[in-house]
Symmetry: C2
Subunit: 720 residues, 2 copies
């Protein structure tokens, strides 16, 4: 069996990647393959195959098995791309035809460069509204009031400028994606954790809905993107409710109901029908027909799509003057587009068993967007709903995307103008109904409440920040917050004192388990998290507190006692000298009178007794409770200078009160970091490091064996 | 022995805190004490003692032992406070006399409310320059040009406004500190890790030096705080070098040299002299004398301190209009002041064996600043150099601070005007020389390079950000960056495959140790860090990669094989049916002819063989290398939904290729989080959890015992 037939759409690069393992199964054929690649193509060819995957899979495309499915799927997707393209263009703040362009060029480019076979690239609500917030804030309608009549806006000039902004933005988005792909830092997307993405898209859906409500109500409100603009827009909208165009509202409500119902039936009977009913296309056609026939625009003042130029526009370089003002948004959009695409691509990859090259995905998206921007496309992403249609209608490969883009091409070239009388309310309905999947994400809240409160917090903060601060600043705040949660989660760890499970070498939290017993004279301390600057001081406090020994007071008492001892010693020495002198004098006078001379010595002894009672004895009676402290560092992933300093201080403080400290469970890297941080010294030797808690306990019980039994006796006495 | 004598300066609250332990040593006296407190004072009194520590320690002040030391120390510190107060006032952008006020009121207040006995509160270079950046940016000199003569600035009006800004800022700083103290969130300071603080102060020292160079050179430059303003100021300064006032420069250079030398000698012979030579005071007096005698201001144009009003000013409410504009800076300054104070206080506390109440420290600083602000003080902090003087000259308690503030009071009331002819260059020299300790921090760079690269990065980023973006934005950027390093450090952990140390139950990284052997058929995987959203996907990739098994390809092959198998089965069934029909026909024709009917079955068998070769056999030969995967989660401190999902996927993928996955070393909290996250299911049961790696290995070797020996035989064959 020839491997090329066995893996019809695996690129040669992929085959080569597989080779080391595959060799065992079928060494002869694969070795031949590899040799062939090496001989004929060399490095250049394999790079070419890596960067242009279509060269790898198209020659081996199994026409007989896949082509029909791809065509059916491509047609279905193309039919969805049309209304979505028109609708999302309005979200992006540009005339509808640019949505069609965006559903053609980038989609075709992705088919050439992409590695996912099932996702459907193209216009996407969340990304479109992000683009829209940039175009609307940089090119606000207010700036285009006609000089003579202030209430009329020069829509043509405004839209022209908006298209310019959108394509410049899209070019930058593409550029960022290519750069990220080339330097292989696709991992930035890991900062966008799932709760964040879901909270973000939920907020985006609210933004989209509010922005579409004006089309459904048939009113005009000026919308500018700034913090709290969503709230202002909503208030403005409510104020304009009395001006509602009833015809628009009716069209909107009816079409939303129809779309929703039919989509529901499509989902329900998806297993029974080969292809979902193209209800969006049907609605579009019917509505356009009615609108044209009943002259809805002229008679009822219903807002319609308006002029859709037929044919292509000549490519144009993006306006570089705009770059500086959109660079931040471009980066955010680039990352968000990638995050959606890669998660969908990986999902399908896992389902159908093929690998996704995440860096190549970035490059594919980048090329789609940056080349697309020359043709005035706005930024594309990947819509989950459309991708599911592509997969479920039998799409096997990127050919389906290519077919769908051809459908759009035909419409651009021939049928665009037919949709000129389409009411905008229909497009709004298409947008709103397509958000159904995102609205469902609100059920995340109770789910996360049960499963993970921190992730719920991330979800909620992302949602609220994005609602209040808009999609750009909201995203930045959300990412910052979700990174901060890592600090929160590690800053106040669970601290536990471990005890031994009877007759085993297992040590567990004494507070959690009943059958666990602490070892006499030994405290075993564990933190649930790694030790670093934000929790190091808390760690030290917790150690001291949980040891049940007021270490600081003990040290204080000891220092005082030492001082007192020194003073007493000095005093005694002085007195001795005095006495000696006196005695010498006495000796001079009387030759022998010893009993009197003993008096001062008794005095000193009494002083020492007072001292013992005051401090040293206190120390002694405490000490018998604790002679060893084991710090289990098995949860430590890294150490910084602050944590090393804190550990040093713990060693110093406990050694001061004659408690020996041991470290256990240090990973190799931790020991290296301890060494680099000058942790080890005369008083902290490497002999205090043990592999496991049990090793340390064994060592301690061996060395303290005798003292221990003695100690516990006195303990019982003093404890009463 | 009476406890009151034993702990002369412990507050009763402290005593009570100690009580539970102390009881054992001297139960009778302490129980009596506690009863006394409870009877007479109740909660109100103990709260009073907590919030006004002086009520606790002053009645028990050991006059005979401590008073002399405290007076000597207080005089020494007061003598230093004078020049520093005058000099740092210039840093804060206000006339020198306000530095004297700031060295009096807040210092006295701290003596009443503070719990540290050895720190010297008062003006501090870093804080003063932070205040200065606010006053200079809100009240720039440019706004005070006289209407007639543009080159002359109305200094009196400007300084008046600056004082207003400084005291409003200081009031807010105090308010923030009190609030932080009352809600007990002093822990915010843990975000200011040591490398950050040191990098920050080093940058602040550069800011201070540049701002003082204009006084030394005797030139005027307008300085406004904004990003990159330090660079502009330096460039402006260089441009003005030709205008240098030679007399000023000479005074500055000579005094810097003298101060530096004498301070060096003071340090060197600190053990031999009871009190350091008050060289700053001497320089001040000598310089003032010379300046007055030689009329330096009038003859050589040397810039002098100017009018110092005698006596106090009436207290004034801070201007609330300014609050909104300084609130961000106030918070930053509040935290920085606290960070310096608490670290010094804890250092002395450890050295002398007493406890610091960090929340009370915040309240003490807050009261000092907020009440001080009514008297036009600017924000105070704690200078390390001065505190060391206070301690080394025999200071035992807050009485030293009180004495030092009285020294300043006398100067304010009587001697202030004597310093009116003091050249500003002298004050600049005092500032610069006092930064010596901070300059030494540059040696951190090589030290950190050796010990911890990440901490070095924090140091450098903090330093550069603070230099370029100034002290306010620089601090925010630095804190954000230092928190990000936690992400960096945990995002790319070390992954290791563990093996067993011969004849022990210890498992160690096979790549690090020679005598460690992997267990046949079992991979034990460990990550050095906790598993969370930013590294979860990398973890999954690393597991798959380090297992030496191309899991994705195996799954792909398996799915293909299954599909093929299904197709073949269908084909076979069809053929069977066909054959059956044929046979039936044949049966109709000829009654018995069985051998011919067997042919198709042989065909199917052959197909299966091809299939086995292609995929299933491949799977089989891989499988014998690996039947179990152990994920050691002992380093996990918490799990989030992303990491639980990733773990689930690992289970699913490996179970797909018949590798059983086990989890070991999960802490109790981790298991709870797994449960909450719906991790366990039919295929992932709690039976797959083990206490330790060894337990899991024991279990696996028991269940796989027989298969294992069989497996390894075939393995040897296929491996060649």
């Amino acid at each position: 069996m020839d491997p090329a037939v066995r893996h019809p759409v695996l690129s040669e690069a992929e085959l080569e990647e597989m080779a080391p393992r595959s060799q065992r199964a079928a060494p002869s054929t694969l070795t031949r393959m590899k040799k062939k690649i090496r001989c004929s193509g060399s490095v250049a060819k394999s790079l070419l195959l890596k960067f242009i995957p279509i060269l790898g899979w198209l020659p081996r495309y199994p026409v007989k098995e896949w082509l029909l499915g791809d065509i059916v799927s491509g047609l279905s997707v193309g039919i969805i791309q049309l209304p979505q393209g028109l609708a999302y263009a309005l979200l992006a703040g540009v005339p509808p035809v640019f949505g069609l362009y965006s559903s053609f060029f980038p989609v075709l480019l992705y088919a050439i460069f992409g590695t996912s076979r099932h996702i459907s690239p193209g216009t996407f609500a969340v990304i479109s509204v992000m683009v829209g917030s940039v175009t609307e804030s940089l090119v606000p309608s207010e700036n285009y009031r006609l000089p003579g009549n202030e209430s009329v806006i020069d829509i043509a000039a405004r839209d022209n400028d908006r298209v310019e902004v959108a394509s410049a933005l899209t070019f930058l988005v593409g550029l960022f994606q290519i750069m990220l792909g080339l330097v292989q830092v696709g991992f930035v997307v890991t900062y966008l954790s799932e709760p964040l993405i879901r909270g973000y898209t939920s907020a985006a859906a609210i933004h989209v809905t509010v922005s579409q409500m004006k089309s459904v109500l048939g009113v005009q409100i000026s919308q500018r993107s700034h913090p709290l603009s969503l709230i202002y827009a909503f208030v403005n909208l409510c104020a304009k409710v009395p001006e509602t165009n009833i015809a628009s509202l009716l069209i909107g409500c009816i079409s939303i109901t129809v779309l929703f119902l039919v989509k529901f039936l499509n989902d329900k009977y998806s297993s029974k029908i080969r292809m979902p009913i193209p209800i969006e296309l049907i609605t579009l056609i019917v509505a356009t027909g009615i609108s044209y026939g009943a002259s809805l625009h002229q008679v009822y003042g219903v807002d319609i799509v308006g002029e859709i130029p037929t044919g292509m526009k000549a490519p144009m370089l993006p306006n570089t003057d705009i770059f500086a003002r959109v660079v931040g948004n471009a980066f955010a959009i680039a990352v968000v587009v990638y995050a959606f695409t890669i998660s969908l691509a990986k999902m399908f990859g896992v389902k159908h068993g093929y690998n996704i090259d995440s860096n190549q995905e970035l490059i594919a998206l980048g090329l789609s967007n940056s080349i697309g921007s020359f043709f005035q496309c706005f930024t594309i992403g990947t819509a989950m709903s459309r991708s599911l249609v592509q997969e479920s209608t039998g799409g096997h490969s990127q050919v389906a995307s290519a077919v769908s883009s051809l459908v759009i091409l035909i419409i651009i070239l021939k049928a665009g103008e037919l949709f000129e009388t389409l009411p905008k309310a229909i497009l709004a309905a298409v947008v709103v109904v397509n958000l159904k999947g995102i609205y469902k994400q609100f059920t995340d809240v109770p789910m996360l409440w049960r499963s993970n409160k921190f992730d719920l917090l991330v979800w909620l903060v992302t949602f609220i920040a994005t609602i209040l601060l808009n999609l750009d600043i909201g995203l930045a705040v959300s990412v910052a917050f979700s990174l901060l949660t890592v600090i929160f989660r590690t800053q106040k760890p669970h601290y536990s004192i471990l005890g031994k499970v009877h007759n085993t070498d297992i040590y567990r939290d004494v507070a959690q388990f009943d059958q666990v017993q602490e070892i006499q004279g030994v405290k075993i301390f564990q933190s649930s998290c790694t030790l670093y600057f934000a929790n190091a001081n808390l760690y030290a406090e917790a150690v001291k507190k949980m040891c049940g020994t007021d270490v600081d007071t003990l040290i204080e008492l000891k220092k005082k006692a030492m001082k007192k001892q020194k003073q007493l010693q000095e005093k005694a020495e002085k007195q001795m000298k005095k006495e000696n002198k006196k005695r010498e004098k006495e000796l001079d006078a009387i030759v022998s009178n010893s009993p009197a001379a003993k008096e001062p010595e008794i005095q000193i002894a009494a002083d020492y007794e007072v001292l013992e009672e005051a401090g040293l004895d206190y120390l002694g009676s405490e000490k018998c409770n604790l002679h060893s402290l084991i710090l289990d560092l098995s949860t430590a992933g890294f150490l910084d200078t602050v944590s090393i300093k804190v550990l040093k201080n713990i060693f110093r403080d406990f050694q001061e009160i004659d408690v020996q400290v041991y470290l256990t469970g240090c990973q190799v890297y931790i020991i290296e970091q301890l060494e680099a941080g000058n942790f080890f010294s005369k008083s902290i030797t490497k002999n205090l490091l043990f592999n496991s808690v049990h090793d340390a306990v064994t060592y301690i019980s061996r060395t303290h064996g005798q003292q221990d039994t003695k100690g516990s006796d006195t303990c019982l006495n003093t404890k009463i």
